[in-house]
């Protein structure tokens, strides 16, 4: 396809949109969706996918895009391609309603996504702010350098030299404060003469977002050695972060430099009717929108082949982290390395030799596009997913914190509580909604599998609603929302978000079979209430449809807390979903029996209780 054959971006975006195609070029697969305006609303109608082709032998991302569109054509009956050209706009007006589309948009995390190095003056202050800024922009942070990061100067320089990031974000100092530390970091960067990951002939982009008084010195030191861009300080005063301007610059440079160097992206950039967004940035945009719209505290996760992204919004504060080497294909072996074999094995409901499991995991690593063909293999992948999800959330909780180094006004009670600045914002008891995305969750053969993977990994406390992205289209909708808000909202509500149901999990522990809480569930008209006792070690599932609501009254045992204090009864309205209402009496924190036979028996009992897998267990 030639670039000149494509309509210009401005022309395409200005036209009314009736037929939209969007792709997400992931590290493993390129996913294409077709969105059509049916009556007054937009609906996602078809989906196609193909392996991503950034890698050899193709080394051209557009091959995978064309393959995924060809599948979309095959399934939808709509003619989208004319040879290797996307037909735009749609030809309904010319009497050919099944020919052409109005706009093509895309996100991308292929080729390793956006890889950044960040630097700040003090690690726990501007260092962390720079990290949050880069992560929020959709980057993988390869390293955080700071004056006090414990490394000797020559070690820092060697590290900068050995890393080949796509760009560097340098921050440090509050406006009007000392310039020494940030200039010192600039001197190290200059001495290292860093080179970009892609393309050996261009200068590495570097964004300076630190003390404005140091701009002249920074320009002097780095202007000739990097492609320097200066923007507003991300920490103008200690008490406030200002991440927006630097994030915008990251996105601009991502398109101008990084994307333009990746195989085939120059061509792809010409095809799209809106700027290509890094996949995590697009997912983050959608997650943040949901939380704000419904005034929720939420945790979102996108578990991919190479990385796991975690998003959270607590009290209106958005955070995103990426665990660069926690994923289920390319990085599957790293989940084993980080979690340890025992942690994975504890979720597997059958006995398997260590050697066999290790070899199977490595075989998945070297052939990352394969899928589980047997039930055993599926159960192993879902066991690994639980650990990847758990580790990624722990990583997220350590970074999603309040600002550190900020003076706090304290009352007498605060002093007794010994609260410090920079505490994690993640409070599972205040969590309203968990949103899961990524192949293993979106494509789990039974929705209850996705729900239990998230419940096991995150151990939600009290009452928490869970959902999944139906077919993994949040990235597409994130970028679509920048072009057409209505289309993105319509599809998100009607086709994307699949509510699984609600999990009720009392906090506390007891012996298996001991009373945890008595419950009374009152349903809508025509359905009798359910009353009973939830024992420790029990998992109970009550069907409760997507549009159904119920009221649950729980009277916990004296050592059990449901959020209102130990032994205090609570009554809550709960909403249903494709799975229903899950009462989790397994205790919090969740601990599996250490004895292998007892553990297997417990897993099989739980799996049967929720009808997790066909036949076997």
């Amino acid at each position: 396809m030639t670039g000149s054959a494509q309509p210009s971006r401005q022309m395409t975006a200005a036209q009314p949109l009736h037929v939209i195609i969007a792709t997400d070029c992931g590290s493993t697969t390129t996913k294409a969706i077709l969105i059509e305006k049916l009556g007054n609303e937009y609906r996602q109608t078809f989906r196609g996918e193909a392996p991503t082709t950034v890698e050899a032998p193709f080394e051209d991302v557009t091959r995978g895009v064309l393959n995924s569109l060809a599948e979309l054509e095959e399934l939808s009956g709509r003619k989208i391609l004319d040879g290797e050209r996307i037909i735009t706009p749609n030809r309904a007006a010319q009497g050919e309603p099944r020919v052409g589309v109005d706009i093509y948009i895309s996100t991308s995390s292929a080729g390793g996504g956006l890889q950044m190095m960040v630097a700040g003056a003090v690690q726990s202050m501007t260092g962390e702010s720079a990290q949050r800024c880069a992560l929020g922009a959709g980057a993988i942070v390869m390293d955080v350098l700071a004056s006090n990061d414990g490394r000797l100067p020559h070690e820092k320089i060697e590290r900068i030299r050995s890393l080949r990031p796509d760009m560097i974000l340098l921050s440090g100092g509050t406006d009007g404060g000392t310039v020494t530390h940030v200039v010192e970091m600039a001197e190290y960067i200059s001495a290292a003469e860093p080179r970009p990951r892609l393309g050996i002939s261009y200068q590495l982009p570097l964004i300076y977002a630190g003390n404005k008084d140091a701009r002249d010195r920074i320009t002097e030191i780095l202007g000739g050695k990097t492609s320097l861009v200066i923007t507003d300080n991300i920490r103008p005063v200690l008490e406030r972060e200002n991440l927006g301007p630097a994030r915008t610059k990251i996105h601009d440079l991502f398109l101008e430099h990084v994307m333009a160097q990746a195989p085939g992206y120059k061509k792809l950039l010409e095809w799209t009717g809106a700027p290509i967004m890094p996949t995590p940035a697009a997912v983050g945009l959608i997650m943040e929108t949901i939380a704000k719209k419904e005034n929720l505290n939420l945790i979102g996760v996108d578990i991919g082949g190479a990385t796991t992204d975690v998003f959270s919004v607590f009290g209106g504060v958005f955070n995103r982290t990426v665990s660069a080497n926690l994923g289920l294909s390319y990085s599957v072996s790293n989940v084993l390395a980080e979690a340890g074999l025992a942690s994975i094995l504890r979720w597997v409901p059958f006995t398997i030799e260590e050697q066999t499991l290790r070899n199977r995991i490595k075989n998945k690593m070297i052939r990352p596009t394969t899928i589980p063909q047997t039930l055993d293999e599926l159960q192993i992948e879902q066991a690994i997913a639980r650990e990847a999800l758990r580790l990624a959330l722990a990583h997220h909780a350590s970074l999603a914190t309040g600002l550190k180094g900020v003076q706090q006004e304290r009352t007498i009670s605060d002093i007794f509580e010994q609260k410090t600045s920079g505490e994690s914002l993640i409070d599972m008891l205040q969590l309203d909604l968990i949103v899961g995305s990524g192949g293993i969750l979106s494509h789990a053969p039974r929705r209850v599998q996705a729900m239990l993977m998230m419940v096991d990994a995150y151990e939600p406390l009290g009452v928490t609603r869970l959902s999944v992205d139906s077919i993994f289209m949040m990235p597409h909708l994130g970028v679509l929302s920048t072009v057409n808000e209505q289309a993105a909202t319509d599809v998100f509500v009607r086709d994307c978000m699949i509510y699984l149901g609600t999990c009720v999990a009392p906090i506390g522990r007891g012996k298996d079979g001991e009373r945890c809480a008595d419950y009374t569930i009152t349903f809508g008209e025509g359905r009798s209430p359910e009353c009973g006792t939830l024992a420790f070690g029990d998992l109970r599932l009550f069907p409760l449809g997507r549009d159904d609501r119920a009221q649950i009254e729980l009277r916990p045992a004296k050592q059990v807390d449901l959020g209102e204090g130990k032994g205090v009864s609570v009554t809550r309205d709960v909403r249903g979903g494709e799975v229903g209402l899950l009462l989790d009496g397994r205790g919090r924190p969740l601990q599996l029996p250490t004895d292998s036979q007892k553990r297997l028996a417990a897993l099989i009992r739980w799996h049967r209780a929720v009808d997790l897998y066909p036949g076997k267990s």
Partner: protein, 379 residues
Amino acid sequence: MGHAYTPGLTVTERTVIRKPRLLPIPGTVLAKAGDRVRAETVVARAELPGKVHVVNVANLLGVAPDEVRDYLVKKEGEAVSQDEVIAENRPFIKWFKTEVRSPIRGKVESVSTITGQMLLREPPRPLERLAYVDGAVVDLHPAHGVTVETSCSMVQGIFGIGGETWGELVMAVDSPEKTLSASQLLPTMKNKIVAGGAFLGIETMKRAREIGVAALVVGGIHDKDLRELLGYDLGVAITGTEQVGFTLVITEGFGTIPMAAKTFELLAGHAGQKASISGATQIRAGVIRPEILIPWTTGSPDAGSAGRAVPATERSGIRIDDHVRVIRDPLFGRIGRVTALPTELRQIETESVVRVLVVTFADGTSAVIPRANVELMEG
């Protein structure tokens, strides 16, 4: 994924390979277009900038950073030797004199009046790029390197560790199903590339290191042995820089898996010839598979016709009668022929609904397998 297929590993008796041999930083290209080169020929050389050392002169002399220039004995760009005085104060009483000495031999890179630091750089280190494979220089990349072309037999492995090396190819077993045991490695195999069959264990790896074998090629290994060899759990498949004493290439996967007959026969057919091998693997962002290249030499048929053989062409997908390798349990490692490509989606044991194909094996049995779980036998 109607148009999807997993590109397979190339195993071919005859192909033309072009290897860009580039320096990581600009340098001098030593080879000329048309030169015949051997694997060990240096084709380009560069000087890697030396390590930087930081000396905070202001702190050591107890002066303000903006005054530091007044105390320098050595200025930017000047050479320094180890322990040479680079800055000093000038007190009234000589007894109070403080001298700052260079921790290295090199030169003064820069001096900062904001931080008070002096950056000293060690002398550059030479970096050489070798040809890696016997062949001819067909392209020059000024200041960066050359492209070497060779007409060769080629085997791509699925995973490897260790860098580029070369040596005589030796077969240690007589069948692809056999295990390569430690006792089959002989002292005469020093500096050679030794190919085995279905499996080799940690004892064989240790023996290879003891003897000084250049490289091992085998169908499969156990992950636990890899872990013991490396000393850590390999998390992400980006390899090639490991220093375990030899290069290791596995052709099929993890476990005991007979080497594909085609691969084994190709290697056996070239026993005694010089081969180049690399364990570098990167299964992410620009896939790199390990490889064994056996250049056609003057004794080979069609020798010297590097330009004549045609490079493998790009495939568009899997077709009926294609030979494929099953790459996921329960039939992992089996090789068969595609006998049906149903277009409709099928539900498999996991309850997933996927595109499948039918593979018929040499024993006449058939199996329905997700399309994602086979790879084409290329070449």
